[in-house]
């Protein structure tokens, strides 16, 4: 029975998984399918249950309730060493007493493969470190150890490769480079990658599909563009990038559009981008979708008047403005510095406009600060 598990292949299916520690539910009734061959990211702040989910897939934790299938094989209680699943651990967990070659050969040897040299050399070439085969892990830099940890896992050609914050210990520049490399290697080897991270940019760069997790549940799942352009919850809107969320009321229909009243000013938005359940809603607009114009200018699309520039930060590619609105809210606006127009000054009276189809609508009873208190860049480890 357990020997079947090792050769299992196919989609990974988590069905109604709950993991409780006493009264605390780290993962709460989670159902998820990860298609074979995809690069899937579990994204969320620390404590959202993403690492626990990963550890259950690896077999290092057992779900309190629910089942895990790989293809048609139930692997819920299969021991880690009997699963065709390998992990790239946070901080790598390389074996300090073994050479790089033996670290990579470890999994092959455990499965009784005698002639490991060809396969080990192949993955060492893939991660571009063939000259380090005889070194010990401590003699390698962080970035090199990261690649060896990856090589040690993919050499086994697992049905599923799990990556637990694999780039967390690297500096920013190296992280960016490794993101692109990981994506390339995933295409090259054609394995299913499941990547856990709190870094939204990392998830968006690499993954085909992202599941945003919060408090043990999946908030929303989709492609990076879907999640960014049309978030369904305030948490997703704030955790992936920044959002301006303005309280409003649905005030009628106009074909495929909704008419929304925002503090007395009417705007329109596509009906299918609204996730409101009654007439109250939050209109969401990303800061870079806004355009600022001086009061009195003729503009197209949705318009809000009565703004005053409160703060200006010039950051090269763009200028970031804080615009105070008459109802007391401050809106974030990012303007590309591509039109030769000098930036606005603090105190300028302006109006704000945007393309109606960029608007997304959230339920009116949402906590609009959800997902803002966690700054992904500052969270290094849980």
């Amino acid at each position: 029975m357990s020997s079947d598990a090792i050769s299992a292949r196919g989609d990974l299916r988590l069905t109604r998984i709950t993991k409780s520690y006493g009264d605390f539910k780290a993962v709460d009734d989670l159902t998820l399918t990860i298609p074979k061959g995809s690069f899937f990211a579990l994204l969320g702040p620390s404590g959202c249950g993403k690492t626990t989910t990963l550890r259950m897939v690896a077999g290092l934790e057992e779900p309190t309730v629910g089942s895990i299938h790989l293809g048609d094989t139930d692997i819920t209680t299969t021991r880690p060493y009997q699963r065709p699943i390998n992990t790239v651990f946070q901080n790598y967990a390389l074996f300090p007493h073994l050479t790089i070659f033996e670290n990579i050969a470890f999994g092959l040897r455990r499965r009784g493969i005698k002639d490991v040299k060809e396969q080990v050399d192949k993955v060492l070439n893939l991660v571009e470190l063939p000259h380090l085969a005889e070194r010990k892990p401590t003699q390698l830099s962080g970035g090199q150890q990261q690649r060896i940890a990856l090589a040690r896992a993919i050499v086994n050609r697992p049905a599923l490769l799990l990556l637990d914050e694999p780039l967390g210990a690297l500096d920013l520049k190296l992280r960016r480079q490794m993101q692109i490399e990981l994506k390339w290697i995933q295409r090259e080897v054609g394995l299913t990658f499941v990547h856990v991270t709190h870094d939204q940019e990392e998830a968006m760069t690499m993954a085909d599909t992202i599941a945003v997790m919060n408090e043990g549940k999946i908030e929303q799942m989709g492609s990076p563009a879907d999640l960014y352009d049309n978030p369904e919850t305030a948490f997703v809107a704030n955790f992936l990038g920044q959002s301006n969320l303005i309280k409003g009321k649905i005030d009628g229909n106009d074909g495929d559009n909704l008419i929304v009243d925002l503090f007395g000013q009417k705007i329109s938005m596509p009906k299918k981008r609204s996730h409101a359940v009654d007439t109250s809603l939050y209109a969401g607009i990303r800061p870079e979708k806004f355009r600022i114009s001086l009061l009195g200018t003729a503009v197209k699309g949705n318009t809000l008047t009565g703004g005053r520039i409160e703060d200006v930060s010039y950051i090269g590619v763009s200028t970031q403005y804080v615009v105070a609105m008459p109802w007391g809210q401050e809106l974030m606006v990012f303007e590309q510095n591509d039109d030769g127009v000098p930036p606005f000054d603090k105190g300028d009276e302006v109006l704000i406009s945007w393309e109606p189809s960029f608007t997304f609508g959230l339920r009116g009873d949402e906590d609009i600060d959800a997902g803002t208190e966690v700054n992904p860049e500052e969270l290094e480890e849980q």
């Binding site: 060493y81 651990f89 455990r110 010990k136």
Partner: protein
């Protein structure tokens, strides 16, 4: 001024060096001189003169071959038993003890709160006719009805095992505790079952502790005479007992000195071979 900076390390070494010179180097030289002396003709007991009699070494060794052999046999057995007891103990403290970790560590060193001598004398009581061990083993028919444990090699090795157990446990604990538990998880992830992960990852990573623990047990055990004196009999005499009696009872200083040197040399050779074999210099 860079001079004081260069001199600082030497200044820091000075107190230790002065201490070792006075209480180790000088006595060793003195001992070396004594080891090649012979009795003054017509002199009193304990009066010797330097004659560079290197034959003292051969004579001392030949006369005490049996005790030398016994010392190393007992020390080896005590080391093996201590390792067998201490490894699971240290493993449990390092990985499985949770919040009891500190209490257990205090219990490991607790024997040091009483004197070595007292504890060994207590073992004499425990293993004696009045203790519970002998009647217990007799009723279970593990030992015969007439068999005693005191004044036997079993008692000496048991006493040594007990007395050196903390010296084995602490270095083992220190090196096991340093192992990143994720490396063991990684072994499981890479198709190693529990036993294989233990053999391929935990044991090699704890090897520095094994080497340190066995040395800290074996070296003092090989020179020990307290356990043999209190728990043994004339048939379990170790080389430490011979040196002690040569020195204090027979007043044969040269023989005692020659035996001491031979013992030191033998331990040094064995330890060097052992460390070479264990290959600790390659371990991280």
């Amino acid at each position: 001024m860079s001079f004081p900076k260069v001199r600082t390390p030497y200044l820091l070494l000075l107190p230790g060096f002065a201490f070792l010179f006075t209480f180790f180097i000088l006595p060793i030289i003195n001992l070396a001189q004594t080891s090649t002396q012979t009795p003054i003709v017509g002199g009193d007991t304990g009066e010797y003169e330097q004659t560079l009699a290197f034959g003292n070494y051969i004579q001392a060794f030949v006369e005490n071959k049996e005790q030398f052999g016994r010392s190393f046999l007992y020390a080896s057995l005590a080391t093996i038993f201590a390792l067998a007891i201490a490894y699971p103990l240290a493993y449990a403290i390092a990985f499985k003890s949770g919040k009891f970790k500190n209490i257990l560590l205090v219990l490991v060193v607790a024997p040091f709160f009483t004197s070595f001598l007292l504890r060994t004398i207590a073992w004499k009581q425990i293993l004696g006719e009045e203790g519970f061990v002998v009647p217990g083993l007799r009723s279970l028919h593990i030992i015969g009805q007439q068999t005693t444990l005191t004044s036997t090699s079993v008692a000496v090795v048991a006493g040594m095992t007990y007395n050196f157990l903390p010296f084995m446990t602490l270095p083992l604990y220190a090196s096991l505790e340093r192992i990143d538990p994720r490396t063991i998880e990684a072994a499981g992830d890479l198709y190693a079952n529990g036993i294989t992960a233990f053999r391929r990852v935990t044991v090699p990573l704890s090897l520095p502790g094994v080497v340190a623990g066995t040395l800290l047990t074996f070296i003092p055990a090989a020179g020990d005479y307290v356990n043999a004196a209190i728990l043994g009999s004339p048939n379990t005499k170790m080389i430490g007992n011979v040196i002690e009696s040569r020195y204090f009872k027979i007043v044969d200083y040269p023989a005692a000195a020659a035996l001491s040197f031979t013992l030191m040399a033998a331990i040094l050779i064995l330890v060097t071979l052992y460390i070479r074999k264990a290959g600790t210099e390659e371990l991280v």
